[in-house]
Symmetry: C2
Subunit: 134 residues, 2 copies
């Protein structure tokens, strides 16, 4: 499991090609994940700490986890199938660990909504396949 | 507290004026809430039961509540200040009731993501003010 960081967000208002770039912290491998416009702007607002007078969707999710006694732990990008990335959002509650299936865009938006942001990990084989490097 | 139902969703691709209309079940009062494009399409997809191969943001929220042992109960539109509506999402967990602050658009999208959809209530004074009728 390799820890990565969000290094770039590309938002285009004229086409559907929004992307976030994840780069490994202890190395040079990186790759883009194509995401939707809403998710890209949601992530961008958080990275730029733009004030949100009302809780946005991912803030609501963070608030719900907190109210129900859970703790957001981390995000794992754990699979890549037919150009679609898969992720899980890890939440701990008491002694239980819940890994909840999520789109990477939502998982990353949740990660960036936390303070400090949650760590983001990528499975070794996904990183190899995505970055085209071993 | 008055129960309402979602009667209309207006989605415009050319301007920012998306809206959902809520109408009381046992009466004629109704009112629109202006919401964002993303939220409007999220609600619309649910109403039309459009297949979602991956969990969308509000599905993820419903999944998180379930995993943490909570039960989504209802939505209440509980305030109207300076043309902004406020809502709470009621979640029960064990003997506890959590009323979590949310934008009406998110609360309604969550309500419509549940099967059956959660009931939506509006406080009497909000319905009076919003519909212009007593």
């Amino acid at each position: 499991m390799i820890e990565v960081q969000l290094t770039r967000i590309i938002i285009s208002e004229v086409n559907e090609n929004q992307a976030v770039f994840l780069k490994e912290i202890d190395g040079d491998r990186q790759f883009p994940i194509m995401i939707g416009f809403f998710e890209a702007t949601a992530i961008d607002r958080r990275v730029k700490s733009i004030e949100r007078p009302r809780p946005l969707t991912h803030d609501l999710l963070v608030g719900v986890v907190d109210q129900l006694g859970g703790t957001l732990d981390s995000v794992v990008i754990n699979d890549l199938k037919q150009n679609t990335y898969f992720a899980t959002l890890r939440i701990t509650a008491g002694n239980e660990i819940h890994d909840i299936d999520a789109r990477p865009s939502d998982a990353i938006a949740v990660a960036m909504s936390c303070d400090p942001p949650l760590p983001i990990y990528v499975k070794e084989e996904v990183l190899n396949a995505a970055s085209g490097k071993k």
